[in-house]
């Protein structure tokens, strides 16, 4: 299955992936102007840049083969679809067990009450995830690596 992989050697710490991620959510709702979409609110991306001492890299859901978040979820809101760990917002009760379980810190609260996480853009733009498309330096790639 294709996953998002990180080449931290090429990450510039520009944070653009975070903005493209945040914008992907708006695309889903039919807003296709990034300026209009992100002008007023503070973004809540599902990918986050970690940086320290000149090293930076993007962290998003690894779509684990044995996902601790799915195991931990008390309502069955998290499940695996074709390898993609997906969240069903209607089922999530906002207990945040998954946030505590995920060893990568890849799940975060959202303003809807349900949690949010990277779903490889399957619900938003399809094809290549928006963060990977927007990265100027191939520091994140969407690849089959077995």
């Amino acid at each position: 299955m294709k996953r998002v992989y990180v080449n931290e050697k090429w990450c510039l710490g520009c944070h653009l992936c975070e903005y493209y991620c945040a914008f992907a959510g708006f695309l889903e709702r039919g807003e296709n102007d990034m300026a209009r979409a992100l002008k007023t609110s503070k973004i809540k991306p599902r990918i986050n840049i970690e940086e320290k001492d000149g090293v930076s890299f993007a962290v998003s859901c690894r779509h684990c083969r044995e996902p601790l978040c799915v195991k931990g979820c008390i309502t069955g809101a998290l499940s695996t679809f074709d390898g993609v760990i997906t969240i069903n917002g209607d089922k999530c009760v906002g207990c945040y067990t998954c946030i505590l379980c995920c060893p990568y810190g890849a799940i975060s609260p959202s303003e809807t009450g349900a949690v949010q996480k990277c779903e490889l853009c399957v619900k938003t733009i399809g094809g290549t995830p928006a963060c990977v498309k927007g990265c100027p330096n191939n520091a994140i790639v969407f690849e089959e690596r077995g």
């Binding site: 050697k9 510039l12 520009c14 944070h15 903005y19 493209y20 300026a35 992100l38 330096n137 191939n138």
Partner: protein, 501 residues
């Protein structure tokens, strides 16, 4: 020192309706032109720091930025231009020589733009390159003009070492040091994939790049940096650099701040020491001396590598080329006055040397007149900007061209001409690790391959239109050229007719 007279040249215009304060511009400008105001969640800019490199413009996700000329103007004066006045202010402030980079930007005639190409009509039909074979492969080096036979009357193979490349374009000399590791890797990988050559420049060769040897020209310049037997033997050809179009008659100077780590090792000089290339080679004061170096290098490489002698196009270039063609060199590279550089004194870059078109036409004619054209291949450089320039250069008599500025532009260079500051925002002309990593060679090399592939298609298209199916039949084929808006003397030097003739 009291009052500063200089007003910023550019203005960074931000459309606040579109800016989402993502801070990418602030994070990516190594000149620190942008500043984020936390309290207001707003980005502001100090125009005076901007060098107009377009890094922020290209990265801004909402197209909120553009750079314009600041438009501040002095009282108009046809003699004292704003640029001239500013230069005087700058020198009055600093007391120093003005430095510049990339090629001569002044308004001298560009002869390539005053030459038009022919196409077939009715007779001698044109050829469709998509349906019929087209040959762009060339072979460079000396051609023997005598057939030699052994005692049994069998023909002896007396062909000197040559190089064969897939199209008449190579990447010109840019040293590791003047450009980054990633830029170097991009050039080397692209040359390998394209089946052409790139050139190490005078900075020696990083150990990681020996594996691209078959696609490498190794340079020997007046500083002799990084020259040792393995280096000489690693490439497909050796180039002796006598001069450079951007700065004929003067040497080079890579400041000690750039001589760190790998760069110092490749150059074989201590870290932090300035790399000063003298203006002349101190052992070359005549064609005979040059011949000695040519043969020393051949000797050192077992007569297996062709030797190129690179000179700047200067006034008596034809006589110099004639000497070089008799020196045992296999190729002459002529670099015109628009050739690029990582740093040169502005006055030298903008006022010394001659256009490569004239130099090429003159050299080709002189070598033919003297019957020594086959002694050498002629490579030209100094602002070859497009496939059309390549075709015109070949028709004017060149065997091949070198490109450098065009290659850098393909990798992201925006010709901001501040390479000498060492803070290239595109990761090309810099050794600062955070900046170098902005050029991912996986992307850089691909862009180079794309550019060359596109040019190759265009070259074939233009050749096909002229009814020519091999680049060799275009070489020196001046009947395919016509001048436009040129005077008698210029036409005579170029050896072409005027349009309509």
């Amino acid at each position: 020192m009291g009052l500063k007279f200089l007003y910023p040249e550019y203005e960074v215009v931000r459309n606040y309706d579109r800016c989402i304060s993502c801070r990418a511009c602030e994070r990516q400008c190594a000149n620190e032109a942008h500043e984020y105001l936390q309290n207001e969640n707003k980005i502001v800019c100090d125009d005076a720091k901007c060098v107009n490199c377009h890094r922020c413009v290209s990265l801004c996700p909402t197209r909120a930025l553009k750079i314009t000329a600041s438009g501040n103007t002095y009282k108009s004066n046809a003699n004292w231009s704003g640029k001239t006045i500013d230069e005087i202010y700058r020198q009055a402030e600093s007391g120093g020589v003005l430095l510049s980079s990339m090629g001569n930007p002044e308004n001298y005639p560009v002869y390539f733009d005053k030459i038009l190409l022919n196409a077939s009509q009715v007779t001698n039909p044109s050829i469709d390159p998509l349906r019929e074979p087209m040959e762009t492969r060339i072979s460079l080096g000396a051609k023997p003009c005598k057939i030699e036979r052994d005692e049994n009357n069998r023909i002896v193979n007396n062909l000197p070492p040559r190089i064969s490349i897939s199209m008449p374009v190579m990447f010109s000399a840019m040293s590791y040091g003047s450009i980054s590791y990633n830029a170097h890797e991009s050039l080397a990988r692209a040359a390998e994939e394209l089946g052409i050559l790139y050139n190490t420049g005078e900075g020696g060769l990083h150990e990681d790049f020996y594996k691209f040897g078959a696609n490498t020209i190794v340079q020997v310049a007046s500083g002799r940096f990084g020259v040792h037997p393995a280096y000489l033997n690693s490439g497909a050809a050796i180039e002796i650099k006598m001069g450079q179009g951007a700065k004929p008659g003067i040497g080079g100077h890579l400041p000690g701040t750039k001589i760190i780590g790998d760069v110092s090792r490749a150059r074989m000089i201590p870290e932090g020491s300035d790399a000063i290339s003298p203006a002349p080679h101190h052992d070359i004061y005549s064609i005979e001396d040059l011949r000695q170096l040519v043969y020393s290098l051949k000797e050192a490489t077992n007569y297996k590598k062709p030797v190129i002698v690179k000179i700047a196009a200067v006034h008596n270039v034809t006589a110099i080329a004639s000497g070089i063609a008799r020196s045992g060199a296999d190729m002459i590279a002529i670099d015109g006055f628009r050739g690029g550089t990582g740093a040169a004194p502005t006055r030298i870059r903008d006022h010394v040397g001659i256009p490569v078109e004239l130099a090429l036409a003159g050299v080709d004619k002189r070598l033919r007149d003297e019957g020594i054209r086959d002694n050498v291949s002629v490579i030209v450089s100094g602002s070859i900007r497009s496939a059309a320039d390549v075709v015109k250069a070949v028709a004017l008599g060149a065997d091949c061209v070198y490109i450098a500025s065009a290659a850098l532009i393909a990798m992201g260079c925006h010709l901001c001409r501040s390479c000498h500051a060492g803070r290239c925002n595109w990761g090309i002309a810099t050794q600062v690790p955070e900046l170098v990593k902005r050029l991912n060679p996986d992307l850089g090399y691909k862009r180079l391959v794309n550019l060359m592939t596109a040019w190759e298609h265009e070259i074939k298209e233009m050749m096909g239109g002229m009814g020519i199916n091999s680049i060799e039949s275009l070489k020196g084929n001046r009947l395919m050229l016509r001048g436009i808006g040129l005077n008698e003397k210029e036409l005579e030097i170029l050896g072409i007719k005027h349009a309509g003739e």
